[in-house]
Subunit: 418 residues, 2 copies
């Protein structure tokens, strides 16, 4: 076993270089590699161009033992990754009879006629090891060359993940290339600005600190990563001490040590305590429920939700009194609370969350600006509410943040049974 | 004006290299640059490490006139982009008094105490031009060095976009660096597999074809890009001819020539024809409504939607008869149609869309496998329905695809007024 194997990632596609699509495969592979103890040295993006791909493969294989190339294995004529890798190492392409047969079988099974262009998916550089792709038509492959390994993986994320997990990881293990991962811990915090976090974290974030700590912010969520400097007993002990200190210092903000997705943290508590839930959304228009129902098996605790965009819908679907709407406006504590109580009553859920706000770009006033959102939660008839003013920005950001805020408030109420 | 200016992008962040976050800034910048006629040669991702950043900046400035570095300008100690760029060109960092005053004013305006760590955001390489950041606390900067320009932009996408549009684009224009963009056209298609598309497109996709054509697939949507080879009259005429041929050949599948987002295509038709809409969702749990309500001003045509996850909710909220649910099951033509008619009746909308399916991972049977989804639409009382079997994959993919499919069906019905 060699702990010194390093990886370089290459993502192929004009659509990535022109920005019409963003590269999610590399972050997936980087995450996986890191968990397996293989450091990622670089990520590079190149277009659908044979010489560019060949040059990037040579650059990457000059510095890393393992090169993963994602994308450009499809059936269309702009898919030239196989050509680029072959060119990099001076190999020919040949059609593999077994791969062609598997390709035909894939189409027959699905009763879809196989296009002639699909045949190019049975082309491989001479000497390549074919990696079957259970999830799609593009078989992947692996080429070893002078102690380096270059793997070509399909671009569709689902297919890339299947080939990675089912083919490449076992190969890396057999090859003895999986190192000892550097231990790290993650904390996911909601509702704390980055500068406040930095001040409260203090010297923990210094560049030379042990363990090393980094943080990032997205959709109102701050992710803090603590990473040991080495696999030594001292480094690991320092990591454990810092983890305990971190938990104590940020107990009010940490909602998970496992995952960014708030909906999973909430669902776990709902499942554990057998609490049923409903949601009533105005400005978020179904986004919070859309998040919650990502969780498999959520039907155990979620049966019904409400998207009440207009005042009349708040009245008819949730029984919000017209007087409240008239007196306080739809974006108010009173209406948020009535929405939550109404959602609980109509659905029969123990916990109901309500969101009503101004997502913009229009509809704001000086008193009720774009970014103002009222949240309410009703737990077994007891209602709480809170107002938040999101810095005026784009509609999407405000809505995403508000949906996650509602789930966070629900999580807090369930955890504290308050 | 020089049409030969090229750009290289660098995204900075351990979170990008470790995969805990993916780099969306580079795709944004690539899109913008391309539209301004500046070709993007490469995109590279490096960690929060001063020497790595310095090396990447030198590599990038060796091949491109314009280098854009995104991220690593925050207030925390792991933000070292300013140090890396200064090191690359052998410059010192100094604290800018005016930037510090602006920083203090920003915090005062928001009545948030300014942390000491925020002071480092007033540090700049000697000789740098400061680019104000209206959207956040991290000022950006631009450094010219031997005919090259290196700009450091804040990592949060909203801030990066503001500084890009308000500061950097005007600077590029004044510098005469905006070239003539190569003309391209996009088509967005739904419901056509990539291999079928490739076969029907035929030689249009050949690597040497004029115009050049590429395609990508995501969430059931195929994006085809046709790009002229040059700015010559011949190339542009060839592009126009191909655009006309493309429209004719794929008229049944193209839903937009402007944007990927199906909800905008649908909303545009609803607005133009003054058609009101409602949605009833089961397996998608609010996702389709969440998409539709992304559109600003959607309240003109959307007042209310339904998330009826359990059978009982379909009965009580939409009036789906218990007998139908018992006889056919929740995932059936009969129930989808009853959901659509119920949503139209309760909401008063002219058009109602319904989605009921099995998103998995559990709940599938051999007769009704995971991935089976029934869609129905009711337009002024006339109902249509269709079944789709999505290849069994992950829950998220099935749900996202189903939500977009429902919007596509709605778009088709409104367009054909059928």
């Amino acid at each position: 076993m060699s702990a010194s194997v390093r990886a370089a990632l290459i993502a192929v596609g004009d659509e990535l270089l022109s920005g019409s699509q963003s590269d999610t495969n590399s972050s997936y592979l980087a995450r996986e590699l890191e968990a397996l103890g293989i450091a990622v040295l670089s990520i590079e993006i190149v277009g659908d161009d044979e010489p560019d791909i060949a040059a990037a493969v040579l650059r990457a294989s000059a510095r890393a033992e393992l090169v993963l190339v994602g994308g450009g294995l499809g059936p269309t004529l702009d898919d030239v990754t196989r050509h680029g890798i072959a060119a990099a190492f001076g190999r020919e392409l040949h059609e593999d009879a077994q791969a062609l047969a598997a390709l035909r079988a894939w189409f027959e099974l699905r009763r879809v006629p196989m296009s002639d262009t699909n045949r190019r998916q049975a082309l491989f550089p001479v000497g390549a090891r074919i990696l079957p792709n259970r999830a799609g038509t593009a078989p992947a492959f692996l080429l070893e060359h002078e102690g380096r390994a270059v793997a070509a993986l399909p671009g569709p994320p689902r297919e890339l993940r299947v080939v990675w997990a089912e083919e490449l990881v076992p190969w890396l293990r057999a090859r003895g290339w999986l190192g000892a991962p550097i231990d790290e811990r993650r904390f996911f915090l909601f509702g704390i600005p980055e500068s406040t976090f930095a001040e409260r974290a203090g010297a923990w974030m210094a560049r030379e600190a042990e363990p090393r700590m980094g943080c990032t912010v997205r959709d109102g969520t701050l992710t803090a990563v603590l990473r040991a400097r080495a696999n030594s007993p001292e480094s690991l002990a320092a990591l454990e001490r810092r983890v305990a200190e971190f938990r104590a210092r940020f107990s009010a903000e940490v909602y998970s040590e496992h995952e960014w997705d708030m909906e999973h943290a909430l669902a776990r508590e709902l499942f554990a305590r057998n609490v049923t839930i409903s949601l009533a959304e105005s400005c978020t228009g179904g986004l919070a429920q859309g998040l919650l129902t990502r969780v498999p098996g959520i039907s155990r605790v979620f049966t019904q939700g409400f998207v009440t965009y207009a005042d009349e819908a708040k009245r008819s679907a949730l029984g919000v009194p017209s007087e409240l709407l008239r007196a306080h406006g739809a974006v108010s504590r009173e209406v948020a609370e009535a929405m939550a109580l109404g959602a609980a009553r109509v659905s029969g859920a123990e916990l109901a969350l309500a969101i009503t706000g101004i997502a913009g770009p229009d509809g704001g006033t000086s008193e009720r600006p774009v970014g103002l959102v009222w949240f309410a939660s009703a737990l077994r008839g007891r209602v709480q509410s809170v107002e938040r003013r999101f810095p005026p920005s784009d509609r999407d950001s405000i809505r995403r943040w508000a949906a996650r805020m509602a789930l966070f408030l629900g999580w807090k109420r369930v955890c504290t049974a308050d």
